[in-house]
Symmetry: C2
Subunit: 578 residues, 2 copies
């Protein structure tokens, strides 16, 4: 037997017990005749003690081990003379009587500590060592709990966990598929799913009623920071539902997850129409932890001889509460920040609201106190606030202002790591026009239904049609999205027509789904949550790599196992490649 207890469970009440522990040497300290080893496993750290005067051979053996050796000890639990109230096991130590090295260890290439000295590249290469760090382990434990919380909720709500296939058919829409050559069907390929979308719809046609799956999906996209070629979704679909049935069900799920995993009561989850989200925040995934909403000030900004405003399509302000404290240097820094190419603003106008009620702006030449007062009234500014103004193309200026709002929010500490605010965004546009390909593209995917009231605009004014779709954002990050689907073959055909699919293309790619709709498809809708992103948010980390056991780097490579790699010639020959 390798252990009677873990390294995290012994307490003062175990004193006098004879125990066996196994684990890794976290550190060793030698003090004269005494030797102490901190023994670590997933559950915690327990101190081992050795005394040369009691057993010299044993003490010598203890002094032969280095960091990360795997050892097994037997001994008595005793009360520590020098207690450590920062460790759950800090009241006791093990007076070791038997000692065995289970496995030796080379010195690890970086320290296995909360704050390690290893860079990301080396930690990815030796991921199995990085996994030993408590901070990483706890994130994986948390993800496992999240997984369980999701399943508990959905199982209780009568959802069936159904596996859909991984070897499917390529559909050259949207992102690129990874493909898998079929050795036994030469010249033919499977594709890995970007999502189980069509299969979950077929499950609804098949009468499964409520489906969920926590499932890997694959996208062969050009790599960029924090994007993984394989990612995990909580994928769900329900029959005989309308939008609010779905929102209620998954608001319940997210509440339950936060309660189970973090013991947090998530507040109300507001439902915000897309147009309103853009108007108030310049974003369809607003961070609701703080205000500083966008204010349209066209009427008080234009027509005062300031050319920049006058020729702008849109002038937008935000009020920074207490922002008058910003120094000139800080204001310059914000200006430079918005002028960076990533944001792309041409400049940043400010207006200070002084303690005494007077105003001081960067455009005093064009706006007198009376006129600036109108700005302040529109922005509901109070003494000691500061107004920032951006102008330009309507769409760009809202995007820029969204970025500025988030940046200031971060700078002012308004985006607290331990605070969580969720919202639904609904009524997205159904389609968006793509200049380059000169056609309409689905905002979500081609199975999303228009809201019933907009059906008659599908051909006459597609851009004005709202989708019966919804996204959930938490703290400014999209965590999930879905829609009520088209369940009617005729409507699905109108949608394919709108998206420029020929009948043949539609039949070739989605024929089985359209055929299925001939045989009594129920009204249905669903949602998918990104488990990696949700895990990262709950773990309070920026990078999804932190919540993935074996992540790939930004180039899609697993540098630990060195994949992808070349095939040997036998394999290639069998697959009909040269």
């Amino acid at each position: 037997m390798h252990r009677t207890h873990t390294c995290g469970e012994l307490r003062i009440e175990h004193s006098g017990t004879d125990v066996t522990l196994s684990g890794w040497v976290q550190r060793r300290r030698d003090f004269g005749a005494l030797t102490f080893i901190d023994l670590r496993d997933r559950y915690g750290i327990t101190q081992l003690s050795f005394n040369e005067e009691i057993d010299k051979a044993l003490n010598d053996k203890a002094r032969s081990v280095g960091r990360e050796f795997v050892i097994k000890v037997q001994g008595e639990v005793i009360e520590r003379s020098n207690k450590n109230d920062k460790m759950p096991t800090g009241d006791i130590e093990i007076k070791v009587s038997k000692f065995e090295v289970l496995n030796a260890a080379l010195t690890p290439p970086f320290t296995i500590e909360e704050e390690t000295d290893g860079g990301e590249e080396i930690r990815l290469k030796y991921r199995y060592l990085d996994l030993r760090r408590n901070t990483i382990q706890q994130k994986l434990v948390m993800r496992s709990k999240l997984n369980k919380a999701v399943r508990d909720y959905l199982n209780d709500a009568d959802f069936i966990d159904v596996e859909t296939p991984y070897l499917i058919k390529s559909t050259p829409e949207g992102a690129r598929d990874f493909v898998v050559p079929s050795r036994l069907n030469e010249g033919q390929y499977y594709a890995l799913p970007q999502s189980p979308q069509t299969f979950k719809q077929l499950l609804m046609v098949g009468g499964l009623d409520k489906y969920y799956q926590i499932v890997k999906c694959f996208r062969d996209e050009d790599f960029r920071a924090d994007r993984q070629p394989e990612f995990t979704q909580i994928d769900c679909e329900m029959s005989f539902v309308e939008r609010d049935d779905v929102l209620n069900t998954f608001e319940g799920m997210i509440r339950s997850v936060f309660k189970d995993v973090k013991n947090i009561d998530l507040g109300d989850i507001p439902v915000i129409p897309y147009d309103e989200a853009i108007k108030r925040f310049g974003s369809d995934k607003p961070d609701m932890r703080f205000g500083m909403e966008l204010v349209d000030i066209d009427d008080v900004a234009k027509g005062n001889g300031f050319g920049v405003f006058d020729k702008a399509e849109s002038v937008v302000a935000i009020n920074v509460t207490g922002g008058n404290q910003f120094t000139r240097k800080q204001l310059d820094a914000f200006t430079n920040w918005v002028k960076r190419p990533q944001i792309g603003a041409l400049g940043l106008i400010y207006c200070r609201v002084n303690e005494d009620g007077t105003y001081k702006s960067s455009v005093d030449k064009f706006f007198d106190q009376e006129k600036l007062k109108l700005w302040a009234e529109k922005c509901k500014s109070e003494a000691n606030d500061l107004i920032f103004v951006l102008s330009g193309n309507a769409e760009s200026v809202r995007k820029q202002m969204n970025e500025l709002r988030l940046h200031i929010g971060s700078e002012l500490g308004l985006r607290k790591k331990d605070e969580y605010k969720a919202c639904w965004v609904v009524d997205f546009p159904l389609v968006e026009y793509d200049e380059e390909s000169d056609r309409w593209h689905a905002m979500h995917h081609p199975f999303t239904s228009p809201i019933p009231a907009d059906l008659d605009k599908m051909e006459s004014n597609p851009g004005a049609v709202k989708a019966n779709a919804y996204d959930m954002a938490i703290n400014g990050m999209e965590v999930g999205g879905g829609s009520i689907r088209i369940h009617d073959k005729a409507l699905q055909k109108r949608m394919f027509d709108l998206l420029g699919f020929t009948e043949e293309e539609a039949q070739d790619q989605f024929g089985f789904l359209m055929n299925a709709f001939e045989y009594g498809a129920p009204p249905h809708g669903g949602i998918a949550f990104g488990l990696d992103r949700l895990s990262a948010i709950l773990a309070g980390t920026e990078s999804i790599r932190d919540v993935i056991a074996f992540p790939k780097n930004n180039m899609g490579r697993d540098i630990m196992i060195d994949a992808p790699a070349e095939l040997n010639s036998d394999q290639k020959k069998e697959l009909g490649m040269n």
Copy 2:
């Protein structure tokens, strides 16, 4: 709102309630002025009633729908005059006041009934319709429950659910990998995992201590009946364990699963050494539901002038309790059965034990009553039993006898569908010699540790070394298997040497694992269960296709979506193929 209740929940106590139901038309019956529709959803069937004399328009509407139309009705729950005690909802019906067709349906190509008239090919093509059959739905619901039962047990036992990557590196050992060309790393390929074996071992090196995952695995094997290119495993690994820790943990899991899913208390699970299993049953996955064990009768069979026995390596008997009832015709049928090429026996000897204690055998010419009595004593035969004897090469004859034993067990109804008997088989040979490639092959995989007592035979007599490995069989089918792993780099090297890996091959294919072993790998072991097979056993079905939502056919094709398929030329070009 599409429904207030499901089609399975209304009872007599709901009488007088106004409800809304949605579902599929299972059947319609017209009786004079009355129309009845059985409305179906996942949860059950509820009868709807219409009366022409009360509302002619509504009744006409009801008569316009056919099988599998999706409809929504509103009405009052009333007590039925003609109750049906075979249906949970059989005491009531809905007196419909509002009626809406949500979706029309073509007549399905086969009947959506418990016993359908559709062949397998057409049911696979229209799998979304086959899924509507209660018998298929219930199997998927059961699988979902099985999934939950496994997770509940493992979560309670402190296992962490960790996802391992799907895009990994090809290892040209064992079965063939499916490979995935990397567009962004031209000429390089990922491989889909045949199992997460190395990753779960790395998780143990990483200190995760107890891991599980329910995970898809992939094997590009030549197709044969009931083999799927993608399959699901319950994959587990534990640190600081010895064999019996693993057996106890997973015996607990299997018990828990049978209790949760079938409310069955699985009896004791015996632990049978491989050699004993082969000796008693001729199989390393014995069906323990019945006896009829193999008996070696060399000593009483050989040396009596019967050349067939005399020149055979081995003579093996089984005693069929009450088998004397078999007619001559039945005996001929058994003889023909074992002579089929799939079994390959040259003949089958029998010996009847008559009521009066005399014997009648097919080899009376060589064996008199005294000698046949010795057979009967060895086989513990009683009056009215029958002994079957096979002879030949020791290995083949046990295999043939295993098949015969199972066949007779089936014929006699000893392999009851609703009875479950599990066993562990342990102490497998570590390696087996492959004549063709002239080298030793791992019976399980190259990470399986030898049992410690046999370590010194690894080089001198590899064939005699037992593996610290274990399989679980239920009702004669292997459901899981695993081993205590090698955690020591030196031993792993000896194993690779034995298997004929050059240092370069070992380093190239498993270098990351061997490197990991340098940094303090703990003793560890694990197991994987086949979820598809386990589901099929619990569902009492022969075919794993029955417990997979969207299975592939025997040629590895998904005939519903028509995959695999050819790529279009753009895709091929992007992947650097022509």
